[in-house]
């Protein structure tokens, strides 16, 4: 899908332009209040994103209240309702599924409270009620990953997919994007949901290694934590073969594994930046400026060749 790729390129350029322009916050938001409904309080990706949001809010003089959904969209929908009831000036939402936030989003619209989505896209109906989406293009990440893995395997081989939470939009997009651009000869042996969790990926990978062993030529982990889980299981198993492992996120564990030659590549997705950009976009919307419907983060591929030019994203 070239339109997506070009969108992604355009996005990368505009994000770069935004980064050059620096924090140019909408005027007149000082002293206003923002309710930030985040996915979790303590999580390798979410926590730095929360810190980025807090930093941007502090810089703009906005009062930020952070509430955590603990990865439950039901909780988040309730929290969204509470935030609207409080009549805050803006809402930053981390959507965890397609429709659950609809009632709250409609109320926010009625109350004239701008809503910006961070990191994950909600469903179509919901996105109509959201001013802007700020985050990485997860579908493109899947496509890029398929290309990386296809190249590394020479276009053919059996692979396994370590996916995130079932039903989570990030999981869906990263899986669909991958399957769309997967090389003809690449055959998926199994897809398991390891919930973006290293421990769960470790347990699942033990089973996969027992079942398929050296048949596994490649591993598509939908985030670096799960890639690390697989590598740990591989080490435990004592098997001497080396499948191609790719991840997403640009975590420190992935950088270490790429340097050690255990992992092939990852895609940078800096969370602090994501949180900062999201609050800045929301502040603009609150000040009445028009904002782009999509404010993407660039997807930068990190392999052994270029790893020297980057710092781990988190």
């Amino acid at each position: 899908m070239t339109s997506r790729t070009s969108l992604f390129l355009a996005a990368a350029v505009s994000a770069a332009a935004l980064a050059v322009a620096g924090p140019s916050l909408g005027a007149g938001v000082e002293g206003k209040s923002i309710c930030y409904i985040t996915a979790a309080n303590s999580h390798p990706y979410v926590t730095p994103a929360n810190e980025g949001a807090q930093a941007a809010a502090d810089a703009a003089g906005v009062k930020l209240t952070i509430v955590s959904e603990e990865f439950s969209p039901q909780t988040g929908a309730d929290q969204l309702d509470s935030c609207v009831s409080r009549n805050v000036d803006g809402i930053l939402l981390w959507p965890l599924d397609a429709n659950s936030y609809l009632p709250g989003l409609l109320k926010a619209k009625q109350a004239g409270i701008p809503v910006v989505a961070i990191d994950t896209r909600a469903g179509e109906e919901s996105m109509k009620l959201i001013q802007s989406f700020v985050g990485a293009d997860k579908f493109a990440q899947g496509e890029v990953s398929a290309k990386q893995l296809g190249e590394a395997l020479g276009g053919a081989g059996d692979i396994v997919i370590l996916a995130g939470q079932a039903g989570n939009n990030t999981t869906i997009e990263r899986t669909e994007g991958f399957l769309k651009d997967k090389a003809e000869g690449v055959n998926v042996l199994a897809t398991v949901n390891a919930d973006f969790d290293q421990q769960k990926a470790l347990v699942a990978s033990r089973d996969l290694l027992t079942k398929y062993g050296e048949q596994i030529k490649g591993v598509y982990a939908e985030d670096d934590a799960m890639a690390a889980g697989f590598l740990q299981a591989l080490k435990e198993s004592g098997l001497s073969f080396k499948p191609v492992v790719i991840g997403i996120g640009g975590m420190k564990v992935a950088f270490d594994a790429i340097n050690a030659g255990d992992m092939y590549s990852t895609i940078m997705q800096p969370p602090f930046e994501n949180g900062r950009l999201a609050i800045e976009t929301l502040a603009k919307a609150m000040a009445g400026e028009t904002v782009d419907p999509v404010v993407p983060l660039p997807n930068i591929i990190v392999t052994k060749e270029n790893i020297g030019s980057y710092e781990p994203a988190f």
Binding site: V67, S68, Q74, D81, S85, R86, N99, A166, G167
Partner: protein, 337 residues
């Protein structure tokens, strides 16, 4: 009838304690936040209480009967998924009815395992918790379904009479109906007898199996209602809808004053417990208290409330049940010489 009076007084104490807790939350909220004491906050708290409230109501008669149902969260997930998944085939309203029927069916299975196979309810519903949760994940391929008719359930969360929403009114209405049933009808009162002393109730000619089985079916129905409400108001049939709500439901029931040992409790206390727990959560969120810290507060409040409960009922080193057992009818005394 002094036993009955003491019992009513005990319940009053429990209810006042909840009011005290609500008042403390209101005062603290009023001082720390400018925008806390508003009708809108109350509406939001009541609305948020509705779904977990139905789960808590599902538990209440069972706990009174001395049983427990750990599978309510999984039943809720099954009903929520069915409600949305059936919409394209059956239409939105019949699909909601099918969702309720799934809850009843799951309750019947629980009842059969506990009553016919004589499996301890904790173990039986632990097993069905796992089975129901996996079943809905299998059927749904662990993907939530989005409603084809997303606007259908939205009125459920619209504001009514200032501080209510249709779904919070359904919950409050259900709690009131259950209160009347438990306190003012013979069958309701017999349920307490079954829970406080099973063998005495049986020897007094009560068909305890029917009561326990019935309570499980009711529990399935109410957990199903929670699932239907959640699914319609969020326009999503998530196979994980209820997976995280079992613990909040138990917590709310216990805050309300219904005890896990059986024979004691009230649906009004559950209503109060759910609202107090919801108000506490909302207050913490408004103040930006991280979720883990909130869980610590909740735990501490639970311990405090249960300790207070013992003091309020005058027992020193004795549980309320043991004390009440010593005061109840001669039949039971004769059975426990």
């Amino acid at each position: 009838m002094s036993g009955v009076n003491l019992r009513t007084m005990g319940h009053l104490v429990v209810q006042y304690r909840l009011l005290a807790m609500l008042a403390a939350i209101a005062i603290f909220g009023g001082f720390t936040l400018d925008d806390f004491l508003t009708a809108n906050t109350l509406r939001s708290i009541l609305d948020r209480a509705a779904v977990v409230g139905f789960l808590a109501l599902a538990l209440t008669p069972l706990l009174i009967a001395g049983q427990i149902d750990l599978s309510i969260g999984s039943i809720m997930s099954m009903s929520a998924f069915t409600t949305i998944a059936m919409q394209p085939f059956a239409g939105s309203l019949p699909a909601a009815f099918i969702g309720l029927c799934v809850g009843i069916a799951a309750g019947l299975v629980n009842a059969a395992i506990v009553v016919v196979l004589k499996v301890n309810s904790l173990v039986a519903t632990l097993a069905t918790l796992l089975i129901y949760a996996s079943l809905v994940l299998l059927v749904s391929n662990s993907q939530p379904v989005s409603s084809t008719d997303p606007m259908f359930g939205l009125p459920l969360t619209s504001t009514m009479l200032g501080i209510f929403t249709p779904r919070s009114m359904l919950f409050i209405g259900a709690a009131l109906v259950m209160f009347v049933w438990l306190k003012a009808t013979p069958s309701g009162r017999t349920l307490y007898a079954v829970g406080s002393n099973l063998s005495a109730a049986v020897s007094a000619g009560v068909n305890a199996n029917a009561y326990i089985g019935g309570a499980f079916v009711l529990s399935g129905l109410l957990a199903g209602a929670a699932g239907v409400l959640q699914a319609l108001s969020s326009a999503t049939g998530s196979p994980l809808a209820g997976s995280v709500l079992l613990i909040p439901a138990i917590t709310a029931v216990v805050i309300g004053g219904t005890r896990l040992e059986g024979g004691r409790g009230s649906s009004l206390a559950t209503l109060g417990g759910v609202v107090a727990f919801g108000a506490l959560t909302t207050l913490s969120e408004y103040n930006g208290v991280p979720s883990y810290t909130q869980a610590v507060y909740t735990g501490l409040i639970l311990i405090l409330l249960i300790t207070l409960d013992k003091v309020a009922s005058g027992g020193e080193g004795k549980t309320t049940r043991a004390r009440r057992g010593a005061r109840t009818t001669p039949t039971i005394k004769a059975r426990n010489p």
